[in-house]
Amino acid sequence: MHKFANPAQFLRLARPLTPVLFWSGLLLALGACAWGLTMTPAERLQGETVKIIFVHVPSAWLGMGGWVGIAIASIIQLVWRHPLAGISARAIAVPGAVFAALCLATGSIWGRPAWGTWWVWDGRLTSMLILFFMYLGYIALASASSEKGNVSRVAAVFGIVGAINIPIINRSVVWWESQHQKASITLGGSSIDGAYLWPLLVSFLGFGLLYGAIVLMRMRTALADIRIEARMRRLAED
């Protein structure tokens, strides 16, 4: 960890890594979606609309995973005061919010033909909506922080405490009588036919790599902004 405590060392890795993550992610995501849209069979009951799964589920997982990243970065900031912790948490937040919003939007679009409604206040949908609002709150708190590096203590604590929502979203379909169906993919196995499961996993990988590339870009921007601020201050003093 301390190897990358020095921003210069982090950048030395981040700069070449960004295009690698971006292009591999883009290729896999586009490829998986094309595969899913054109080469998978129509589903028994839903017909073609099942293919929304290839964007809906990765968005859900990445929206949730993003907040886990924020929680981890917040702990690292509070406990070890790692200089890149706050920067990484901020970088994760906006894309995480986008994925959460996409999960809600694509889910709603899917729900209309499949279930018969755009929305229900069941456990899964409500907790995912709450996650999206939590992201907005975190983004606002983080940008209100006085430093450009680490976030305010309030923001970091919020990032950690809010993580309780992630297992809630996951378990919601088990704990409560829900409109959203129960888990199709579990540690024990999957009730999704292989024809859909493989493009889904590749799609998740592709979008995940893209998420990584975006986070790196946003971290690089933040580090550059810090350098700019420091230089501007020095130039003003001269």
Partner: protein
């Protein structure tokens, strides 16, 4: 307003939105609970015709049919102890199928039928390609693995 204050306002707005969502969800749940009926509880409750209520249960296997002019779907909703006939005019959700759950908003008609204004279908967690639909669900999942491997899907 200073940018910093703007952001705190935004954080406050997000917090209000969060609390509102939770409250709306909680009140929606309570509302549903108060006018939600299963076939059994509907029979026991003696609701007057025309009152807006919600009916939930399972679609009785073999009960789905269409009226003669094709615009109305007729089916039976059942639970462990009772069943009730339902009429619905409209497009049924994809997942509306015999043996699965359904929830309908509507009212009781004079003849004891339930007239539904909308249908909400419940979905199990299985995703099965159309070609395997005629087989037993379990066998279908096993075969599904080998079928998709040699690329005969679609």
């Amino acid at each position: 307003m200073k940018p910093k204050h703007q952001r705190l306002v935004l954080a406050l707005v997000a917090l209000v939105a969060l609390i509102s969502a939770t409250l709306i969800a909680a009140s929606a749940l309570r509302e549903e609970a108060s006018y939600f009926y299963t076939p059994s509880s509907l029979q026991a409750a003696n609701i007057e015709t025309g009152k807006a209520i919600r009916l939930g249960g399972m679609v009785k296997p073999g009960s789905i049919s269409r009226s003669d002019d094709g615009t109305t779907v007729l089916f039976t909703v059942q639970d462990a102890d009772a069943s009730i006939d339902v009429r619905y005019r409209g497009i049924t959700p994809d997942l509306f199928v015999e043996g699965s759950g359904v929830t309908a908003d509507g009212r009781l008609a004079a003849n004891g039928d339930f007239v539904a204004d909308n249908l909400l279908a419940k979905h199990d967690e299985n995703y099965i390609p159309r070609e395997l639909a005629d087989m037993d669900m379990h066998a279908a999942q096993k075969t599904g693995e080998s079928l998709s491997e040699d690329g005969t899907a679609k």
